[in-house]
Symmetry: C2
Subunit: 187 residues, 2 copies
DNA sequence: TTAATTTTTTGATTTTGGTCAAAGGATTTT
DNA sequence: AAAATCCTTTGACCAAAATCAAAAAATTAA
């Protein structure tokens, strides 16, 4: 649990009570790679925190498999389009390595907000963090060439090339794997 | 003020006290077109609500002017990359029509959250709305062709072509204005 | 109303990245 | 260890959009 406590520490000052209330909403699991934590079309009720391992969010559009997000140790992920709306999601979540995952029941968390405003504050701040990540992603897509996008991804995930296969990285960058292979040959 | 009250009504149940506290943070102004509400490099402390008119968020990258967001009557806009971080923004905000703008002091708003959790809740829900808008924008860019993106934009802003010049729309769609002109000729 | 400016369209050409296909490596399974 | 599968690279060709340039249309200012 220690990575999760570190992560949340940026957003909340845990009292013993708050800590107990929060961690009662969590379940921890060891899950083998390739497992799907979530499938598109379902409604998402959980936020997943990666204690160990690597996961991706992706979607399928007329046969194409497009990765839209990665999460490694110390990061959260969810099908937020569904989590925030209660509607079925466009996204899937899949583990790319054997992982240790803490899943937080977001519906139960929401139900604590009236009693524990500190939890609602943490949720707000984490939503802001998610917003800023998306904003960065859009800047990347709109302002930079594929080569620049690849280099910037490597800054955020220095070891991604040893952990994640080329095709997933390419689709995250919005290019084909052939193009990424050529970019890589150049740099 | 009535558009703003309608907008906020989706996120908060105003008591007379809350309403007074909130609207004390607001200033309303009539501002001529082409005025900049905000310039990149500055730190943003306000959220702007468009009561009347049209505005865009854009940034400049080695000479290119790229529009990243539009807001018309009933919508909010801000340089959120700065608003949420306190760092200088990459974005500019400019009015494209003579407008009536309500500006909300976000720093003062934040300072009310401890005393009025309902305000923090509204802020959280509006942040979620912003997140979902960005998520939609990314899906648009990654999944659809320029022609499809244009048609989808028209669904959200049916009258945009009569109000906003082609170049701004093109850069929002991630294409050149020549390409948009040809797309338009086809449809 | 005319002149000036800005916006939009059209054309020719170039560039970038996509597609299709196949070969080479690496990893996993039997 | 061999076979099978999966992942990555390379090549030839193609398509979409960018770029450069200029003309036409619309808007604004004089």
């Amino acid at each position: 649990m220690s990575l999760l406590k570190d992560y949340l520490g940026k957003f909340i000052n845990f009292t013993p009570t708050l800590e107990r209330v929060f961690f009662e909403l969590c379940t921890i699991q060891e899950i083998p790679k390739k497992t799907h934590l979530f499938k598109s079309g379902d409604v998402c009720h959980h936020v997943h925190f990666i204690e160990k391992g690597f996961a991706r969010v992706y979607y399928l559009l007329d046969g194409r498999d497009v990765t839209s997000w990665f999460a490694q140790e110390g990061q959260v992920m969810s099908a937020k389009d569904s989590l925030f709306t209660g509607k079925p999601s466009d996204y899937n979540i899949q583990l790319l390595e054997d992982s240790k995952v803490i899943s937080i029941n977001y519906r139960k968390l929401e139900s604590k907000f009236d009693e524990y405003p500190a939890l609602e504050r943490a949720a707000r701040l984490i939503t802001i963090e998610s917003y800023l990540q998306l904003d960065d992603r859009i800047k990347n897509i709109l302002f930079y060439t594929p080569e620049e996008r690849y280099l910037r991804l490597l800054e955020n995930y220095p070891n991604i090339t040893t952990r994640i296969s080329l095709g997933y990285i390419a689709s995250y960058l919005g290019i084909t794997q052939e193009t990424l292979s050529r970019v890589r040959a150049r740099v």
